[in-house]
Symmetry: C2
Subunit: 162 residues, 2 copies
Amino acid sequence: MELMAIGEVAARSGVAVSALRYYEAEGLVSCERTAGGARRFPRSVLRRLAFIRAAQNVGLSLPEIREALATLPEGRTPTARDWARLSHTWRARLDEQIAALTQLRDGLAACIGCGCLSLSRCALSNAGDVAAAYGPGARWLSPALRRIPPTSNAGDAAGRAG
Amino acid sequence: MELMAIGEVAARSGVAVSALRYYEAEGLVSCERTAGGARRFPRSVLRRLAFIRAAQNVGLSLPEIREALATLPEGRTPTARDWARLSHTWRARLDEQIAALTQLRDGLAACIGCGCLSLSRCALSNAGDVAAAYGPGARWLSPALRRIPPTSNAGDAAGRAG
DNA sequence: TCTTGACCTCGAGTGGACTTGAGGCAAGAC
DNA sequence: GTCTTGCCTCAAGTCCACTCGAGGTCAAGA
């Protein structure tokens, strides 16, 4: 069982078949083909997929992940050290995310006490030390966690940064 | 200055004009209209917007936020206590998110040591106590933080949930 | 009167990470 | 021989929270 069919990879990795095809199209994983055109993945794809999932959980986009994967050595199978090197930078990102959430939670504790939610003062909804740079109505979370993009710019025909 | 035009609300709240119109269409905020059809928001919309922003930062979707806002008393202006009640549940959610991220980070520390990233063992990419329920290839993060939905179901024509 | 600017509606576009569907091939079971 | 299963490609659709553009209205000021 050197090479695996796409269905088997999906079953073993938990990554949907459609996602695997998508990853291949995007250059995140590669595979051989049978005479009939079916994909045949090497076992190493499982570790690669594990890396992709982990990286996504840390908040990386697929292009970022592809870039990281591109630094893996060609020809030889990546070693433990290779994977460790790749994931090393996540540490800082995670620390940042945890700090942002903690800050948000502590702000919440204060705000539950006063019930303020004031646009000018409340740590939950408004700017603070960290987020002030984003302008009015700034958000607390790190970009990776933020669901709200830092793009908004009040005013219709008025000044649009762009 | 009882009622505010949409541009003024945008300027004071940092929420874009287009977003305000969208929120109105989605039933998150309401307003009166002038004879000419222009929106006129009460001052209380500012606190409502602050709540929306805060809730988004905690990871709530707009439907969830609308639901929460629907529990506010009709007729009278919400009090500090009302707002505090609404945001009280966020605390648990934030705690959960912080725990998930911390777990991910600590798993990362362990994995950097061994470089494993094994699909069956690695804390970063695979199931653990927390995420086991999601099935194979489960993710660590709480749904609110997770970029990857827990939907995937390996197999092409095979069993699809739904 | 003309212009300006803020506002209006409605429909379409955005981006990321996929999923879904249509239409078809290849191999093993019966 | 045909049925089923698993695979293929390619294009289009999905979700979310908006944003953008076109084309038009309204009120105030020069």
